[in-house]
Amino acid sequence: MKTAAAWAILLLGMAYFILPLVGLVEFSLSMTRGEYSLEAYRVVFADPRFRDTFSYSVLMAVLTIVFGVVLVVPTAFWVRLKLPHWRPVIEFVTLLPLVIPAIVIVFGYIRLYNTSSWLPLTGTTSGTNLLLLFGYATLSLPYMYRAVDTGLRTIDVATLTEAAQSLGAGWGTILARVILPNVLVSVLSGAFVTFAIVMGEFTLAALLDRPAFGPYLQLMGANRAYEPFALATIAFIITWACMGLIQLVTRFTKHDKAPR
């Protein structure tokens, strides 16, 4: 009786989650009247704006990940090693992007870095791209920092550092060849979340007026009948793949790490 009720609740709940995805895929296959076809996908892939915006977002995602790793790994390492009493403060700061809505942050960017300010980033294309990159890095900061810090917790940072130092390694070598390989799995899971965030992000790119995938998706939604559903299916597959890869890398490493 109790188990039956539990099954009923779960199945009803799952139906709510699965129906929209079925609806999405079904719509994306319905461009040709009366039969299922990949016509919407063909049209989408043939659209040069799709290729441009998609590759722009992929490039931005990769750059955001590189920047995020270069910023977060040394910081989290340094805090663990030298400034442990600063950890709560740093952790609090990295969680702020979850509290302050993205639209408020980008509003601040536009007002702070406009053409008449001391740092006119929005005045040039490359400057705006850079600002968008920093914005993406800010949005992914909570996930990236948490992932790396959790990874650092499982290794003995102080001993590894001293061992490397006594072998003559400098800080750069320690970070790149000792710490980073040890937290690589955590860095990867942070990277996949970042990738998923950047690929689907709309608000920042739209308000900074950059040709990213999110705004393109919204534009197509307002103007076309079937193509947006094909695009949304693609976006969903990307999100799903990123999260799946996180599960895969974390499970993959559970076996080769000694219990703490």
């Binding site: 188990t3 009720a5 539990a6 099954w7 609740i9 779960l10 709940g13 709510y16 129906l19 929209p20 995805l21 609806g23 999405l24 079904e26 719509f27 994306s28 910023l71 977060v72 040394p74 805090v79 030298k82 400034l83 740093i90 509290v99 302050i100 809505p101 993205a102 639209i103 408020v104 942050i105 509003f107 601040g108 960017y109 536009i110 007002r111 702070l112 914005g135 890095a137 800010t138 900061l141 965030i197 689907g200 709309f202 308000l207 999110g214 998706l217 919204q218 939604g221 307002a222 947006p228 559903f229 695009l231 949304a232 976006a235 969903f236 999100t239 799903w240 999260m243 799946g244 599960q247």
Partner: protein, 297 residues
Amino acid sequence: MTDTSPPAAPPAAPSRRRLRLAWLGLVPFALFVGLFLIAPTMKIVIGAFQRADGSFTFENLIGLFTPSILASYWISIKISVASAALGALIGFLMAAAMVLGGLPRGIRAPLLTFSGVASNFAGVPLAFAFLATLGPLGLVTVWLRTEFGINLRAHGFNILSFWGLTITYIFFQIPLMILIITPALDGLKREWREAAQSLGATATQYWTSVALPILFPSLLGTFALLFANAFGAVATAIALTGSSLNIVPIMLFAQIRGDVLGNPHLGYAMAFGMILITAFANILYIWLRMRSERWLK
């Protein structure tokens, strides 16, 4: 188990000079966070209290209390409350079914993984998924009409409305609830139920007098988090409703694009109001979480 290991040797006291230089390692991070998180936010907060010429004023905040802006806050709050309440309720039921319902353990990992994905599947694609399902030509809409003769539109349902947006939002609210409340449900000790039963309590009494009071801070805290989550969502709303539903994020979006309010500093005040509401909800979440950790270790 007693701890017999000798206390860890205190770390060699670093020389004063080294300690004083250690903070230098934080400079890149502090610079980044200062320039691209703190300063932009402060710019908005300070701007909310300034006139165009930079002098101090409360006019902008008072300006928020005009019918159109108040109405947008009100509908935003209503949607956030409704989606947080529904998301929390359904998520709680699903998590309870999974943890306490006597289902096979194998169901747990896939459901939690799925929740991780679904809670991240927000934004424009989510809006399209619901248009394809509950929109005028959507899967469920058409199915209900042809199979059961139920016309959703005739019953006043419209995906571009309050309830349409709420139903869409709970797609990322339910999974978040499941992710956060599952550890709390795991923390309910079997002994508590047994103790209650041996004292003659019915299942209902156990829930109302033992389990729910213990879970209450977690439930309320997660509700606050879900509320903030919905309040800040922009992309889903814009892709779904365009500008037909004047919730705060959509109004702010239009304001940033084209100063529709006719006063840039009123925009600052709107953004400041958003920060206040999401910050309040998050502080409530953190505080209640700390309270609930007393019981649920």
